[in-house]
Structures are given as structure tokens and as C-alpha cells.
Symmetry: C2
Subunit: 140 residues, 2 copies
């Protein structure tokens, strides 16, 4: 089986933070709001959530839930937007986006609409990944 | 406990087709594409997927999956877009949208962007709900 690779377009848009049990954890480069993308390491033929087998589906749901709670409870987002879209990049990936009534897209969605914004400082990226790993250990 | 009611804004935008084990099944009035919305009958305080308890989370995931497969395999959609957003209507609800490269929003998302379109013929609404119920019996 060929080595799994996160799609180049996702890596162009996002920092790759690391990996959970099933998913690669990405963070969108636009730091206007905390926009995570989880890319489960599954077969290339799987492009829809309903094509995951039961075990994969539960693992992914658990990882999405973990990130969602982290974004809300630790990063202070007021609302979570979760979505599997995949119209542009077919490789299965799930967006977990922290939203706030003060953000520039509210109450609309971010996809295709988020204006350019600041980059994440490198130190902040490392800190977020450390906090998220700790959060995972404490909450699984 | 007060009787559960689907939020008025959702009922304004959608036809109410019926109910599954956990969720009310709505279909957006704009028939440009098959846009289902599932509203799980849970406590009013639950506005995020990660606030569902484990049993509710699995039931909802199963119902979402059932509708997604129906939209793709029976209604002929090429791609499914699944999302829990809730920035406008806080009541927890999950969108299951059938997409096609020929639809007017492709490859963008539909939320806030779908142009006005035709209504569903009444007979088609009844037929979709009958088919979906049969699909559920055959696939659960």
C-alpha cells in the first residue's frame, strides 16, 4: 500500500501540527480564527464520511469531538462549525472551525469567504499542538 | 419537560417530512438540490455536536449516514456536504446536502449562497419521504 500523503492543497492552506490515532491534524494558516482540519488516514477511495467503516467512523468522530471541545473550551470560541465538504479537495477531511460573533464572516460560513488575515506566530503553533496533545491525554 | 419544537426559522426554510428515531427530517424548500436538515430531539441546551451524550451521538451519526447514502445512491448526488453550523439558528441541526458539479454553487458551499430555485412538487415530497423510510428499513 502506498504511503499516505495529505493532499498538497490542504498543506498549502494549512500547517501540519501532527497526528492523532486516525487523523492528521492541520491548522489553517489564516489565524483570524482557529480553523482545524482533520484528515483521517484511510484509503484513497474513501471520500465521504458514510464510506468509513464503523471503527473508523467512531475514531474520527471522537477526534473531531476532542478538537471541537478544545477550540471552544481552551481557545475560547463561542460556536463550533463542523463540516465535511470536499468539493475542491476530494481527500476526506473534516473542518472544525471556532467561530465568534466578532469574526469577519459571522454569521455566514468561512468557506470561500474568510478575508486574508495574520499568520500564526511559530511559537504559538507549537504551543497549540502541545496543549492539544495534553488535552487529548486528559480527555480521552 | 416542554414539548420539543423544531425552530420556526428551520420550518420557514424547510418542509418537515417526518421523524426518525432521534431526528426530525426536514427538506429545504429550494428544490435546486436535495438539501436535508436533521434536527435531533434533544435538550434545548445542546447546541454543539460534542454536547450530545454517546448514545445520542451515535444515533445522530447513523441517521446522518442513512440520509447521506440515500441522497447519493438514490437521488443521484455526486458529492455529499455534511455540516453542523448553527450560527443563525442555535438549535442543533445537521445539514446533509447533495451536490453536483452542475449545481449553481459548485464548488463553493450552499450556505448563504444558493440562488432562489423551484419548489418541490407536493407529490415528490411524499414520494421522497416514502422512499427514505423504505431505505431506512432496508439499510438499518
Amino acid at each position: 500500500m502506498p504511503r499516505f500523503e495529505v493532499h498538497a492543497r490542504l498543506l498549502e492552506d494549512c500547517h501540519s501540527l501532527g497526528r492523532f490515532g486516525l487523523s492528521h491534524v492541520l491548522l489553517h494558516r489564516n489565524a483570524t480564527l482557529p480553523w482545524f482540519i482533520l484528515v483521517p488516514e484511510v484509503g484513497a477511495g474513501v471520500t465521504e464520511l458514510h464510506e468509513l467503516d464503523r471503527a473508523q467512523g467512531r475514531l474520527l468522530a471522537g477526534e473531531v469531538q476532542l478538537v471541537a471541545r478544545f477550540v471552544k473550551e481552551r481557545l475560547g470560541a463561542r460556536k463550533i462549525n463542523t463540516a465535511a465538504i470536499g468539493n475542491i479537495v476530494a481527500q476526506l477531511h473534516v473542518h472544525v472551525v471556532g467561530r465568534d460573533p466578532e469574526d469577519p464572516c459571522w454569521p455566514g460560513v468561512v468557506w470561500g469567504r474568510l478575508p486574508d488575515g495574520p499568520a500564526w506566530p511559530a511559537a504559538r503553533l507549537g504551543a497549540i499542538w502541545s496543549e492539544l496533545r495534553r488535552w487529548r491525554v486528559d480527555n480521552e
